[in-house]
Symmetry: C2
Subunit: 388 residues, 2 copies
């Protein structure tokens, strides 16, 4: 997408590759929304470190980062010995996989890259194929998001007021995003609409990442506290809810997503407001038979007890880290003597979901299984599916 840098608007993907320097180029998401910086990793070790340090996050984005990182590492090998090369590639794979072991997109993405590499018989050809396959993985991610946008854009008319939750935006993918794709597509078609971004405590991905994305694209939006959506629905100020998903069950149509999604779905159903879930194929889990079987990660209490931000200029307690004002730091908000519960995700039942927007079209939750052949289902598929 386009980013405003000074007076220029520049096109950026969340993740890209510079073949001449053999660098993976990442938008440093730790600094968003307070700063914009591109971080180039000089080797696969630095790429793994960037995944570990949360320079890059989001299922599609870390998948592409790992794919590029594998190609990057493969290209650093000197010599023609194929078996030594393959051992080197296996080490690179393990290093990148260990950077975020519970995530599955890096594993799936790198597995795909290796499958392509094996078609060649020389180190040099395999190195070339690795980069081709990583680029193909990234491009396919973008094409899927574009297709989601095409299908979902129909739901947005002039004047539609959309509620979003968390960030399933282009920062979470290679570009465009899932839940944001219909917004960008509708904008490209000249429609004008308004987006309410749930703040999305505890990590505030809505008020930081989604709001930053929408501001960059010039889409009319306002941030609201997670508490405010019910009131706005009651007063007739929301027409449509659009969210992403971390795992969608192909058999039942249940949707696991960021904590709070279930609450919005209950409210939307009460007020007769349609709720759509936008997902790439990789989010579909064809094996699990019930949403209650999805493990819900209990995350660190400090996410709830604290918040991350920058001290307000001129106020007491200005951040002085590295001599700059705008470096975000954690602040304790809550009573120091108290603990917290912090479930990271919740599960929304199919009955509360109007439709699932996929690259292959919009389906009712109950229609996924019958349409599985067109939705990326492969019998006996051994790909891993996200745990959360």
């Amino acid at each position: 997408m386009q980013v405003q840098i000074g007076k220029r608007r520049v096109a950026h993907r969340t993740v890209a590759f510079d073949p001449s320097r053999n660098q993976v180029k990442l938008i440093d998401q730790r600094l968003i929304p307070h700063r914009f910086a591109i971080l180039g990793t000089r080797d696969h070790r630095a790429t793994a470190q960037a995944i570990r340090d949360m320079v890059v996050r989001g299922a599609g984005a870390i998948g592409a980062t790992a794919a590029y990182g594998l190609a990057q590492g493969a290209r650093l090998f000197r010599g023609r010995d194929l078996s030594r090369f393959e051992r080197h590639v296996a080490e690179v794979f393990d290093l990148l996989h260990a950077a975020r072991p519970t995530a599955v997109d890096p594993f799936n993405a790198m597995t795909a890259v290796r499958r392509v590499m094996r078609a060649a018989q020389t180190v040099e050809e395999q190195q070339a194929l690795a980069l081709m396959a990583a680029e193909e993985f990234a491009d396919e991610n973008v094409r899927e998001c574009e297709a989601i946008g095409r299908h979902g854009a129909k739901l947005i008319r002039n004047g539609t007021r959309v509620l979003t939750h968390c960030n399933a935006g282009w920062l979470a993918f290679v570009d465009i995003g899932s839940a944001t794709a219909p917004l960008y597509a509708a904008q490209a078609q000249g429609r004008r609409f308004h987006v309410f971004c749930d703040e999305t405590r505890p990590r505030c991905q809505g008020s930081t990442l989604t709001a930053w994305e929408l501001a960059q694209q010039g889409i009319s939006h306002e941030i609201i506290a997670d508490n405010a959506a019910g009131h706005l629905m009651q007063r007739g100020e929301i027409d449509l809810v659009m969210v992403g998903s971390d795992r969608t069950l192909g058999r039942t149509g249940e949707v696991a997503n960021k904590i709070g999604t279930y609450t919005k779905a209950v409210l939307a159903a009460r007020h007769g407001i349609p709720l759509y879930v936008a997902i790439p194929f990789s989010t579909l889990d064809w094996s699990l038979r019930a949403g209650r079987l999805i493990p819900i990660e209990e995350r660190a209490a400090d996410e709830v007890l604290c918040a991350v931000g920058v001290a307000i200029s001129g106020a007491a307690g200005r951040s002085r880290d590295r001599g700059e004002k705008a470096w975000p730091v954690p602040f304790r908000v809550a009573n120091p003597g108290s603990g917290a519960r912090n479930p990271g995700f919740d599960v929304t039942p199919a009955e509360l979901i109007t439709g699932i927007i996929t690259p292959a079209g919009i389906f009712k939750p109950g229609e996924l299984w019958a349409n599985r052949r067109g939705l990326g289902f492969v019998a006996g598929d051994k790909r891993k599916v996200p745990v959360d």
Copy 2:
């Protein structure tokens, strides 16, 4: 209630009066939960300033502060000229009223004090009556909260898991609180239970004030993000919801309260979890005929875009204000280019409310009007009722 100060536990009211020094004594709520300090105001001007500066907040608490402030100002008058004294008292009244003009508890409380004063014919007697009336106002506030506690404690059994929203605790009243009163009463009766405190963005009264109160009283509790309550209900981890109210309509049983209350009520109803609203008599509005007529204050966007806290010790950006680490400061969380909507309150319909806990007992929302004589209703009552 009892507060732990160092190794001692000391009883404190939120608002009190020291007759020997003619001082209003206030817990400085701007510092809770990070520090505990009592602020004594030496005259009515300082008391008005303390109301303006949010040293004290909460309907019952600022009512009692204004009542004490009026007595404090009256006692500073030197001389025996009754008409000059009455002009002086009128000036004190106006000064204290102007400190928080949209609040009505100060107006009602001071009107009551003046009514009592007029029974006497000398300055000295009126000064004595002013203090007596202010003390009586504060004591009556405490008695009402005690009665709410007696009635509400029956709802809490051993093992009950209670969800609270915002702070209708003893810091918002003279002592004990409304929504917290049943908790403290149940604890005094030896019952053990657990409280989930909604963080209550944007101002975080749940994670700061309510959590601090419960920690001081040694009640088992955990803070949760506002997004998490629905998930906990879905998993069967909440048995009861207990909230306060800013205005309850006696004619319809509708409840205006902190933004997000409506959302909890919708969730509780879906899961068959009882929701109770605890209120003193002064919260009942007998005139308004529909909840949609309640004006909903749109508060400053910065409440949503920012949060207040203390930089974490050892982290970059430590607060250095006054050379102390623990002074809370505002910091920006959200994307700097984005705006926010910030409705401060919402209205919950009667159908979602199990019961209203009043000092006169527990009523179904639809039973309030029929029982109005026992609930403080006076025909032609000219007392003001809170706007929000």
